[in-house]
Amino acid sequence: MHYSPPLSLHSFPRAIVHIDGDAFFASCEQARNPSFKGKPLITGKERGIASSLSYEAKACGVTRGMRLSEIKKLCPHVIILPSDYETYSLLSKRLFEIVKRYTNEVEEYSIDECFADLTGMRRPLRMNYTQIAERIQKDLSVELGFTFSVGLGPNKIIAKIGSKWKKPAGLTVIPARKIHLYLENLPVDKVWGIGTQTSAYLNKNKVFTALEFARLHEGWVKKKLTKPFREIWQELNGHFVLPLETKEKEGYASIQKVKTFTPPSSDPIYVFSQLSKNVENACMKARRYKLEAKRLYFFLKTQDFNYQGAEIRLNRPSAFPNEIIGLIRPLFNEIFNHNSQYRATGVCLFKLKPQGSLQLDLFGEALRIDKFRKIFESVDAIRQKYGKHTVCLGSSYLANQTSQRLNERGDLSERSKALLPGETMRKRLGVPMFLGELV
């Protein structure tokens, strides 16, 4: 074997950790109910597919997105649970809070993973970077009750390679001068941010591993690749380029609401009510952030995973569902095919702008909008007080009815089935609960 020189001579010019929950949703369920421990378990019952799977389920050959019927054949003893996003979100918040004990520079990347910048924390914490990473990992598993995988590296890309290196409960420390050892056998498409298009292009240029990519000439990279990939190339070489986005989310670039319903339906009124409910929810979120959309698209998804949809441009920004639904309805009627079975609808509001001041116009439009604004301020206030579904548009009524029927189908989360005195279906204590038998 020929000598493979390191890509960098440093160890940790910056120290970034990436922390990733091991089978997060399934682990949340197993940690609160000891009868689920060590058993194959999946969440996502209400969607009809596996959205998270325990390591025991993975060992049976179950994969994400697999249909329940298929899973039952593969793994007859599997425990199938409806998702409990309330509990998962409570625990996700705790994940970030625990990491923030060690540094305040934390990027909440998704519900079950985050990046943290430990640079400069060695002296105040009286530990080296590896020890800090170990402590974070230990706090998380002791206090939340399940394991996390941690990667420590000189930047985000390398930290992410580290957290994936050994799962579950792994801790992988990659100083810059050892990066090349980890990239040697790593297919280039396994690097965070490199998709199928880019990896196919790189493969054509005889670049198959992450190390081959990292060793490309700077000139070639600059000439042939776009900025995001040049940045990845720099990070693979041990430089710190991608900053942590530590600011709390103030606004959104887009707001998307998609919902799968079971059983599938070919009833246009019912499918439209599902779409209408998504529009209402998306608008509600937009109003909460004082945003209005200039454009939107909606889509219908059939049982055989075909998508049909349309994009709409608004003549002025809006976050009022009654206006938007009026625009969607004729297009929906065009797209809807009575011979298809639909299983999901979705809407995405984009080109979001801050709720602007009203411009006066000739046709009294401003007055009308002002009136809507007042109506929806009241609607939002009522929902805040009495629950999200107390007031809805007539067109969403059917969809809201079915969410009430979830109970009868057994799709309610374990937590909602264990309501405490004084709790309601709409409002529960913000503290996660131990479930299962107590003897």
């Binding site: 809070e97 206090e143 996660p432 131990f434 107590l438 003897v439």
Partner: protein, 175 residues
């Protein structure tokens, strides 16, 4: 005020003795800036923070400042009182009466803290055969075991490792 509405520009001129509506306009702009009043869609003035929002913390004796606000800085919420490590705290609803002599009744809620530093004498939540159990943690020599607070239940000596998940920190009972 008799007519239960805010005065018009004209009326304000009379009240203040201003000679022009422009002066009233300037006064109103200052009051709007101070967020005391605002304008409705017709441009008429309406009250904003003039009523109802002031917090009354105590009665001020003439000449002495109210101590109420400062004193309140040293109080804690019920949450803070009951919960010490927020990230590790979970709730559990009690069933059964094995801890009845410790005053923990069926249906009570216990606040438990996940930790691996349980001490003998703590009431702990342990995992036994796929079920939770709530007992006193006891120690005899090197041996750790679980003891209920009810004479009807015998102590539990673990055959293998004792899996303690959490320690009970508070009990809540709502009537």
């Amino acid at each position: 005020m008799k007519s239960k509405r805010m005065p018009s520009y004209q009326e304000i001129m009379k009240l203040t003795g201003f000679r022009s509506k422009n002066a009233v306009f300037k006064l109103i702009n200052k009051l709007i800036q101070a967020e005391l009043i605002e304008k409705d869609s017709q441009g008429r003035i309406i009250p904003k923070k003039m009523y109802g929002k002031t917090k009354v913390l105590g009665v001020v004796e003439a000449g002495f400042p109210s101590p109420a606000e400062e004193e309140l800085l040293d109080t804690m919420s019920l949450d803070e009182y009951l919960i010490s490590n927020k990230e590790a705290t979970f709730i559990l609803q009690v069933s059964g009466n094995s801890m009845i002599d410790a005053g923990i009744m069926p249906k009570d809620l216990v606040l438990v803290e996940r930790t691996n530093e349980a001490k003998p004498g703590d009431i702990v939540i342990a995992e036994v055969d796929g079920k939770w159990t709530m007992k006193y943690l006891r120690q005899k020599g090197d041996q750790m075991y679980l003891e209920s607070a009810n004479k009807k239940y015998p102590p539990i000596y673990p055959k293998e490792e004792l899996k303690i998940s959490a320690v009970v920190k508070a009990v809540i009972r709502k009537y």
